[in-house]
Subunit: 211 residues, 2 copies
DNA sequence: CCGAATCCGGCATGATACTG
DNA sequence: CAGTATCATGCCGGATTCGG
């Protein structure tokens, strides 16, 4: 039985044929910060059901968007990660995040709140071309730490702390969300104590277009 | 009964809560070139089924992404159109088109081929910032004509011919698709006669990053 | 414990028929 | 033209089970 398709000669429709099924894009979003194991994916996707996750991973693998890899011993566990084709989806996620974030209010009780998701929102907020912002930084939020590297054209977030970061930025998840959103200025967040930066805030303000 | 949701505090997930159901994004894509009637949407979405189209239009209306409008007499027919929030989705479609187009081969027999869809691919291909490309142009393909207006930051496609365009570009749909894709150069297309431009091709080459 | 496969009730989808 | 009603089918979500 053939996969269902929109059957249109159109880049958008074809993208949605590959990515538009329920959970597909959300799974890929969770792979943006690096490889993940099956169980990690399950934990980050409340409600998915193991069978459907398994099926989606197979479809995305068959489409060349993700690969299954086996970590070297002693870890020896299998992980899923984006292929270069999958990495090419980053602009799609940035656009979705920039559109969706302003419509997201305060976290509701039943909502799953995850530090990785706000890291992705920050990645989407990044504006290339800021001068003098290059370097490695650290973001701490919701009990997690991320290391991010800025170059003039690119930003790269990874899970885990940074060594000798140029600056460390720390705030809770809703504050960072409002910041990524443009609802809250950097100045106001620093002044109220909702956000702390150790090191020089100037390059960060430039890289994220914050005032 | 509550709509189903990914229940995550994340801009991407929230966007997909509003847009991720089957057909939603494809319907919105078909509104990118201007308002459409119910039947026009049905014709452009083979396989949707009238009930589902009706339901999706209601959902998108309730979410503030589209509006229902009644044309002034004597037309007096109701059309659906993007709200400003819906217009804000353009970057999402551009990103999806740019990702999906390279994976789209030649049109297959069962695929629905539509001139509007290639116009959207051209819109997605547009690179802002080209100097000296401002003006009104016409695109003719697949039996349809489009008028597009270029400013330094923006391009705007509309259905229908242009008056006194600065240039007219004409080719069939697969050729334009390959061009939007980068698979075919402007030079090669002109030389082979697959594409014709009346007027000056230089500003078009600049605006679309074509060689 | 990790990484699934299987089964099942319920809802979403797709096609057709029908109505204001 | 612009939808609603109905119905068969298949997809989704949840629980359970099973092999490494």
């Amino acid at each position: 039985m053939a996969k269902r398709s929109y059957n249109q000669y159109c880049g958008v429709a074809h993208a949605l044929d590959l990515l538009g099924e329920r959970w597909s894009l959300v799974i890929l979003r969770n792979l943006l910060l690096g490889p993940k194991r099956y169980t990690d994916l399950l934990d980050g996707l409340p409600g998915i059901g193991t069978g459907l996750l398994s099926q989606r991973l197979k479809e995305l693998d068959a489409a060349g968007i993700i690969t299954r890899a086996t970590l070297p011993p002693p870890a020896a566990s299998t992980v899923y990660q984006l292929t270069p084709d999958g990495e090419g989806l980053r602009p799609v996620f940035h656009a979705l995040s920039r559109w969706g974030l302003p419509r997201l209010g305060a976290p509701e009780p039943e909502q799953h709140v995850d530090p990785e998701l706000v890291a992705i929102a920050m990645e989407a907020r990044f504006r290339p071309g800021a001068a003098g912002a290059d370097g490695v930084y650290e973001l701490r939020t919701g009990g997690a730490a991320f290391r991010f590297t800025i170059t003039p054209e690119r930003i790269d977030f990874r899970v885990g702390p940074a060594e000798a970061p140029r600056a460390v930025i720390e705030a809770d998840i809703p504050v960072l969300t409002e910041l990524a959103n443009g609802t809250l200025t950097l100045g106001a967040a620093l002044e109220s104590g909702a956000l702390a930066i150790t090191g020089d805030p100037t390059p960060l303000a430039a890289a994220f277009g914050l005032s």
